[in-house]
């Protein structure tokens, strides 16, 4: 086979790849457009109750109106800030707790059943207690966002610490490495992929915690918009909030993926 022929075949191969990608993108877009078109149509033809299911145009109009009066941006700002704080606190605290458990095997044995109980507990059920204890403010909502993700982070990261090949530790111990050095040089970097993947899970969990927290405090944020819309039977407002949440949750998830690509160069 000559060089030219191979080059041609390679070109063909690349061509099929781009074609496939185009087909995938086309159908994704099609589903997206059809979904909203059908929604609009169904609502106008009264196939679904427009009072409950609203319609894309109504949501869009409300989006424009709320964007102009600035209330949407303010609520988004509050919720996104709370989510990011809760997400960071959950991940960092969880990783630190995992480090502590790794540090002291006896402590990890003692705490094991409590971790299992805390993990099994539905954390959002603690919401009312948090609000009474901390107050109906941003702190208690961030605490909710943290609480939802911290235990699972601890468990997952601690498991990955334990699963690091002990021979790496052996190498360091022969060089006279201390436990701190073992942690810094082997345990932590070997667990980075796991920590990043818990970040992805925590993005979702923090949203849950924050939205539920806002349901309960009912003063500001996207969760408040949902609960308010529900109470005054304005489901256009509910759907608007849901769509905004979908967009921002996706953006956060994508950012974490970007971070993952940057840190893990495989």
């Amino acid at each position: 086979m000559t060089k030219n022929e191979i080059k041609n075949l390679h070109q063909q191969y690349l061509h099929t790849l781009t074609r496939e990608k185009r087909i995938v993108r086309f159908f994704q877009l099609l589903i997206f457009i059809l979904f909203f078109l059908f929604w609009e149509l169904a609502s106008r033809q009264q196939w679904i109750d427009p009072l409950i299911f609203s319609s894309p145009t109504k949501i869009w109009n409300m989006f424009i109106q709320k964007s102009i009066d600035g209330s949407l941006a303010a609520n988004i700002g509050i919720t996104v800030t709370e989510t990011i704080l809760g997400f960071l606190a959950g991940t960092i605290l969880g990783t630190m707790l995992a480090a502590l458990l790794w540090w002291s095997p006896i402590l990890s044995k003692i705490l094991d059943p409590f971790l299992v109980i805390l993990n099994a507990m539905p954390k959002v059920a603690l919401g009312p207690i948090l609000i009474v204890a901390i107050g109906a403010n941003m702190t208690s909502i961030v605490a909710m966002g943290t609480l939802v993700s911290v235990i699972i982070t601890t468990i997952v990261v601690f498991t990955s610490f334990k699963e690091v090949d002990p021979n790496y530790i052996k190498v360091l111990q022969i060089f006279g490495g201390t436990r701190t050095q073992c942690f810094k040089e082997a345990i932590l970097p070997a667990s980075f992929p796991t920590i990043i993947s818990t970040l992805k899970v925590n993005v979702g969990l923090s949203w849950v915690g924050v939205i539920v927290g806002e349901f309960l405090t009912s003063s500001r944020g996207l969760g408040y918009m949902i609960i308010y819309g529900f109470q005054v039977f304005d489901f256009t407002l509910v759907f608007l909030s849901l769509l905004v949440i979908a967009v921002f949750a996706t953006i956060m998830y994508q950012l974490v993926e970007l971070l993952e690509k940057k840190i893990i160069q495989d």
């Binding site: 790496y168 052996k170 190498v171 360091l172 022969i174 060089f175 006279g176 050095q181 040089e185 970097p189």
Partner: protein
């Protein structure tokens, strides 16, 4: 006085349901500059013995003295090469070979220079910035040797370091390691279950028998073989003779 002395060493592993005697009554010594092989079937406690000598496991009885002093890992007297290279995949080759120096706070420019010269002597050029996964198995094991030698250990222990490599790479690396150790006049202990490797590389072979692990017999490698590089030693008539002797001993152990 001997360089390394192991005296009346016992070691027992405990589990909830059993106590297994891994080593029983081990007494041996290694002279400075000597290359000794520990040969024996699996389950004869060779790796346990190395871990005890390295100070990683506290033996249940007996003593290990290096230059008349008890072993401490913090003094970096011992270098230990594992079955696989265990290079840290998230570190570059340069960071990997400097790991030992970094751990014990000896990371000076002179030492860095030495380590990278050692890398070149091992025939590894322009790999400092690479990551371990970009290197072949043989190259990685050479990097691991450089990492071990960089801290200038007095005693080098090799725990089947060639067992994970293909045969050709293994033969080449044997020559390389043997040559390097001779150049630096290092004392070394090689653990292996490969009779040929033991004969080709060492000055003395200590044969272990299993359950519990104990010293069965010691073979002295003839002068003619000691001076030859491993690859040439394998073709020497005396090599075959010694091989047969050791083989017979191993058969005896099997029958027991």
């Amino acid at each position: 006085m001997d360089f390394l002395t192991v005296k009346d060493l016992h070691h027992t592993y405990f589990t909830r349901t059993s106590a297994t005697i891994a080593l029983s009554d081990i007494t041996l010594d290694v002279k400075e500059g000597e290359f000794v092989s520990f040969l024996g079937p699996s389950g004869c406690g060779k790796t346990t013995l190395l871990s005890i000598i390295a100070g990683l496991i506290e033996p249940t009885g007996g003593s290990v003295l290096l230059e008349n002093k008890p072993i401490k890992t913090s003094q970096n007297d011992i270098g230990y090469m594992l079955q696989q290279d265990y290079l840290f995949p998230w570190k570059t080759i340069e960071e990997n070979i400097q790991l030992g120096l970094k751990i014990n706070g000896n990371l000076t420019n002179a030492k860095k220079e030495e380590a990278s010269n050692l890398l070149k002597q091992m025939g590894l050029h322009h790999v400092e910035a690479s990551y371990p996964k970009q290197l072949s198995g043989g190259m990685r094991q050479r990097v691991a040797l450089v990492r071990t030698l960089a801290t200038e250990p007095k005693l080098l222990m090799l725990d089947e370091p060639f067992s994970a490599l293909d045969f050709q790479t293994k033969l080449k690396l044997e020559d390389h390691v043997s040559n390097t150790l001779k150049t630096f006049n290092k004392t070394a202990i090689l653990v292996t279950h490969d009779i040929g490797e033991a004969i080709a590389m060492s000055d003395r072979i200590i044969l272990f028998s299993p359950s519990p692990g104990r010293v069965h017999k010691t073979f002295i490698v003839p002068e003619e073989l000691k001076t030859l590089p491993p690859f040439k030693a394998r073709n020497h008539p005396l090599y075959t003779e010694l091989f047969q002797n050791i083989w017979k001993e191993l058969e005896c152990i099997d029958e027991e």
